[in-house]
Amino acid sequence: MKLIIATIKPFKLEEVREAVTAAGVRGMMVTEIKGFGSQSGHTEIYRGAEYAVNFVPKVKLEIVVPDNMADQIVSTIAATAKTEKIGDGKIFVLDVEGAVRVRTGETNDDAL
């Protein structure tokens, strides 16, 4: 199994969820995060003092999928989350050694 970690723009969440669901994903974990990347770096003014805004709100998806689905899901996310503006996000893939569904005790691909 693979863990796909995708950080995307928050307003793309619903669209991406629908797309990966259509592509066969049955679950995911979603976290509100702050992203730092090339998108950052503009300055704001607060009470007369300038400061740099380094972090941008993003959403992080963590999806575990069977090995054979990984590539397809990565491309689905990449295609759906793209706006072609800076800050669209990244997708990372990690190897997962084991999985358990708490409710049933099923393991690995069955647990997904």
Binding site: I45, Y46, R47, G48, A49, E50, Y51
Partner: protein, 441 residues
């Protein structure tokens, strides 16, 4: 207030003969009515100014970081409560000697707790039948004392220890505020000199500001505010609360300025109170709009926190004379206050004076401006006397406050440890968070 609490009584009495019916026995139902209206004015004004305590609490809770919110709330509830108790124990009679001075025009000769009139008091038993019920006056005056203390807490937020802060509050509300207030509103030497400060741009607001400034100098800025020669803004945690606080203060200010007329039992008095309400409102509006335009021009974006400060600046600016200006003049006086705030906030930062909520720009700077502005619309005011009084009150308050802060620092320390400051006062000093939830589960 208009003059001292004694004088309106006289004014009311002299007005009576003009009324169209006999005055046997010197008192009659009409003068009862005046007594009732005046007392009612104090009660309404008093509860409105009480409400300002909630306004300060919300404003400050909104402008500190989450990790210090519970502490800021605690300080605000506690300082109001202490003000209530110590103004009763010492302050009230210190502030209103009613002519009995131990040092003439400077130090009251009346010591002891505040005493109210008897239950069900009649005309003859009233302390001052031509004025208002003593308890209504006490209730109203107490709120001004508490306001002064509220001003201090915002400036020093996020790093001052709870108990030393409260100790200062006790000195401020028992002694510093009432003593200097007696010079003007107790009929002391500043009043005699012709100083005019209707509802306290100087007596209340700049006094709060000076006390805060003294504390700030002893306390120093928050960790991380000034680093490598740069100002690092520390945004407040909740601008909705800050806005709510500002609206509360704005509402309370109608009582603050309006009831400082000290009388509404005659056509002239109620019309004056009405003028004051209208002028107070328009000055706040002027301050808000001026700050909004200023930040748009200077920074290309409107800064809500400055707009809120601007409204308060307008209110402080009109407080020294909310009666004589026309609506237009009041708007301009308020607007200049709003501009002053937008200019002064970054200026203080240049001086590394880290005033968390902008209390010094709002209450001290605009308190001075408002006191000076009296001369533009009130022919009785003299610029010299106004400046003289600003300086006298300022030096007194600043020096005494500085001494008290230094003593507290030497005795117990006034600043939390670096670690406590980083972790937040809520955890360090209260062991309690304002928004403690982690998981909604």
């Amino acid at each position: 207030m208009k003059l001292t609490k004694l004088l309106p009584a006289a004014a009311a009495l002299t007005a009576l003969p003009a009324m169209g019916f006999a005055q046997e026995a010197g008192v009659d139902a009409a003068s009862d009515t005046i007594f009732i209206f005046n007392s009612l004015l104090f009660l309404i004004g008093g509860f409105l100014v009480f409400w300002m305590a909630a306004g300060f609490a919300m404003l400050e809770a909104g402008l500190v970081r989450t990790k210090n919110v519970a502490m800021q709330l605690t300080k605000n509830v506690a300082l109001f409560s202490l003000a209530a108790i110590f103004y009763y124990l010492i302050g009230y009679n210190l502030m209103y000697p009613l002519g009995t001075w131990s040092v003439d025009g400077v130090l009251s000769g009346v010591w002891g707790v505040g005493v109210l009139e008897a239950v069900g008091v009649a005309r003859d038993g009233a302390d001052d039948y031509g004025y208002a019920a003593t308890a209504s006056d006490f209730f109203f005056q107490l709120m001004f004392c508490a306001t002064t203390a509220s001003i201090v807490s915002g400036t020093l937020a996020e790093r001052i220890k709870l108990w030393p802060f409260l100790a200062f509050t006790v000195v401020l509300t028992a002694v510093i505020y009432p003593l200097q207030a007696s010079w003007k509103w107790g009929g002391g030497f500043l009043d005699a000199a012709g100083f005019l400060d209707f509802a306290g741009s100087t007596v209340v607001h700049s006094v709060g500001g000076w006390a805060a400034l003294a504390g700030l100098l002893v306390l120093g800025p928050r960790i991380g505010k000034y680093k490598d020669g740069r100002v690092n803004p520390i945004p407040g945690s909740n601008l909705t609360l800050a806005t709510l606080g500002t609206f509360i203060l704005w509402l309370g200010w109608f009582g603050f300025n309006g009831a400082s007329q000290l009388a509404m039992g005659t056509v002239g008095d109620v019309a004056d109170v009405s003028r004051i309400f209208a002028n107070t409102n328009t000055a706040a509006a002027g301050g808000a709009i001026a700050a909004m335009i200023m930040t748009q021009l200077l920074y290309k974006k409107v800064d809500l926190t400055m707009v809120l400060n601007g409204a308060l600046a307008g209110l402080v600016s009109i407080t020294a004379e909310p009666l004589t200006p026309t609506l237009g003049a009041a708007t301009i006086i308020g607007a200049i206050g709003g501009i002053l705030v937008v200019i002064t906030v970054p200026l203080l930062d240049k001086l590394k004076l880290d005033d968390v909520v902008g209390a010094i720009p709002v209450h001290l700077v605009c308190g001075i401006w408002g006191t000076i502005a009296v001369v533009f619309t009130n022919g009785d005011a003299s610029l010299g006397t106004q400046l003289y009084s600003i300086v006298v009150v300022g030096i007194f308050t600043f020096v005494v406050s500085l001494v008290v802060w230094f003593i507290l620092k030497a005795l117990v320390g006034i600043r939390v440890s670096e670690e406590d400051e980083i972790n937040g006062l809520d955890k360090a000093e209260l062991g309690m968070e304002a928004y403690p939830e982690f998981s909604k589960g």
